[in-house]
């Protein structure tokens, strides 16, 4: 991540004289290949629920390894996790988290809360602190109106607005100005799109498309993936036409709203209270 590079955080552990006191047998082998990093993900809470948005570019030291990665992974109908950091670490750790949450649900007859899930993830990652596992996840759900940011260096924070990744400074710039509790759904969605668009515009490691999810009491709802290249052309046209309308109104974009999860949400609504 750009922030990592700026602050001098080393990807592979530095072999200092101190590590000769540790119990590990030999210094870690240098990897001859890079792993994927670099992203923009964001999530915020408002009166109509929680919005989570992310770009879709998986980059690997200068090469775009995948232009259509999925960075927001649903764990169950009321919990999403946005991933940032190393692609493989995030994918596998979220699979492990989903398994543990499911096991909890089967053993205890009720769903684990977001607070509990965040603590669980943080404690599972703790043994790997100091290694080069790099997971920075934001858990978004409905049971508390807060988000949890969990990082593999041990951070676990509650909040109402998070943006994670190399493009996060740019997204924060857009979000800090506009996010309020009283936003309506359309405004919140277009604000999230705008923030990801601005971040992808300026950050080299973010780009391609934007994924948007909206969580309410009924469950989560996914918008179609939108290619941000079209957004760039639309904005150019508007600028050339000399329009002065506000960006929020104009970016009510052409993406279709697809609540494909409605049936699941209905069933999810029943599952939410009951026992399997």
């Amino acid at each position: 991540m750009a922030l990592q590079d700026v602050s001098g955080f080393q990807d592979t552990p530095i072999h200092t004289s101190l590590s000769s006191l540790s119990t590990s047998s030999s210094p870690p082998t240098r990897r001859p290949f890079p792993l994927s990093h670099g992203t923009t993900t964001l999530a915020f809470v408002f009166q109509g629920g929680v919005i989570a948005a992310a770009d879709t570019r998986a980059s690997c030291s200068g090469l775009v390894a995948c232009p259509s990665a999925q960075k927001i992974l649903p764990i169950h109908s009321h919990l999403l996790v946005t991933t940032s950091g190393s692609g493989a670490d995030c994918m596998l750790w979220e699979r492990i988290l989903a398994r543990e949450i499911r096991l909890y649900q089967l053993r205890h007859g009720r769903r684990l809360s977001i607070t509990g899930s965040a603590k669980l993830l943080s404690h599972m990652l703790h043994p790997f602190k100091g290694t080069d596992v790099c997971v920075a996840a934001t858990l978004c759900g409905w049971d508390v109106e807060e988000l949890f940011y969990v990082c593999s260096d041990g951070t676990r924070l509650q909040g109402e607005l998070f943006s994670v990744g190399s493009g996060s400074p740019y997204a924060y710039g857009v979000l800090d100005g506009e996010v309020r509790w009283s936003l309506n759904e359309e405004e919140a969605i277009s604000l999230a799109r705008e923030a990801v668009y601005r971040a992808t515009h300026r950050d080299a490691y973010s780009g391609n498309c934007v994924d948007l999810f909206h969580i309410t009491a009924q469950g989560y709802c996914r918008r179609d993936r939108e290619d941000l290249r079209e957004e760039y052309h639309r904005k150019r046209e508007r600028k050339d036409a000399g329009s002065h309308a506000t960006s929020l109104v104009l970016t009510l974009g052409v993406g279709k709203r697809r609540s494909v999860e409605r049936e699941k949400i209905q069933r999810g609504g029943v599952k939410w209270h009951g026992v399997e």
Binding site: T29, R30, F33, L35, C66, G87, M91
Partner: protein, 239 residues
């Protein structure tokens, strides 16, 4: 890496003094790069996995007949490029796990299941990874072509086409254009049929062999359809 340092020539052209900078550790690297390119394309009812057959190391060619596609089941082929030692071990482990699954569950693993299993096998070695770039090509449960591409530590996803290995950075944009119709205006998005796909793969590898030193010698194409797996070998540049 030098134990002894010093400028070899000073201003007046005479050799200067050497001095000892301290002990330098020369580390043995367990990895090596053996080159090779792998490509997979998924069609409506077929999948193609192709690889070159050159095995190189540094400036030498160890073998001109070492294909990188391995047949796993009747409906799945995997292509592995990178470090040949890890490719061999990984395919042995996958074969063993396939057999175990077959014996416990009385059916063959589907392509999607193999992909998920490979992801966990690779991540099991997160701190000393298999230096292999894998691409799985096969048919899914509905008979449609499926391609799963991996990074060396197990991150994977399903694609329509993917190139991996030494020439991947050259081939992937070409595939994006020809199969994904990206960055083209006013073009009909025709679905790919099998003959066109095979011809495209051959052309793409000929281009790769021109510009990448680690790719060449011959091209092995495995075409997976519901009738089975067909193999074809096409010669490439040997220089």
């Amino acid at each position: 890496m030098k134990i002894v340092s010093g400028h070899f020539y000073g201003d007046n052209g005479k050799m200067k003094e050497y001095h000892y900078t301290g002990p330098v550790e020369h580390r043995f690297s367990p990895y090596s790069f053996n080159g090779g390119t792998v490509l997979a394309v998924a069609g409506e009812d077929f999948a193609i996995v192709a690889s070159d057959t050159r095995l190189s190391e540094g400036y030498s060619i160890h073998s001109r007949d070492s294909p990188k596609c391995y047949k796993l089941t009747n409906t799945t082929v995997i292509g592995c490029s990178g470090f040949h030692g890890d490719c061999l071990t990984l395919t042995k482990i996958i074969d063993a796990r396939l057999k175990m699954y077959k014996h416990s569950n009385n059916k063959s693993m589907t392509s999607g299941a193999i992909a998920a299993m490979l992801s966990t096998i690779l991540y099991g070695r997160r701190f000393f990874p298999y230096y292999v770039y894998n691409i799985i090509g096969g048919l899914d449960e509905e008979g449609k072509g499926a391609v799963y591409s991996f990074d060396p530590v197990g991150s994977y996803q399903r694609d329509t086409y993917k190139a991996g290995g030494s020439a991947s950075a050259m081939l992937q944009p070409l595939l994006d254009n020809q199969i994904g119709f990206k960055n083209m205006e006013g073009v009909q998005h025709l679905p790919l049929n099998q003959e066109k796909a095979v011809q495209l793969v051959k052309d793409v590898f000929i281009s790769a062999a021109e510009r990448d030193v680690y790719t060449g010698d011959a091209l092995r194409i495995c075409i997976v359809t519901k009738e089975g797996i067909k193999e074809e070998t096409v010669p490439l540049r040997k220089d």
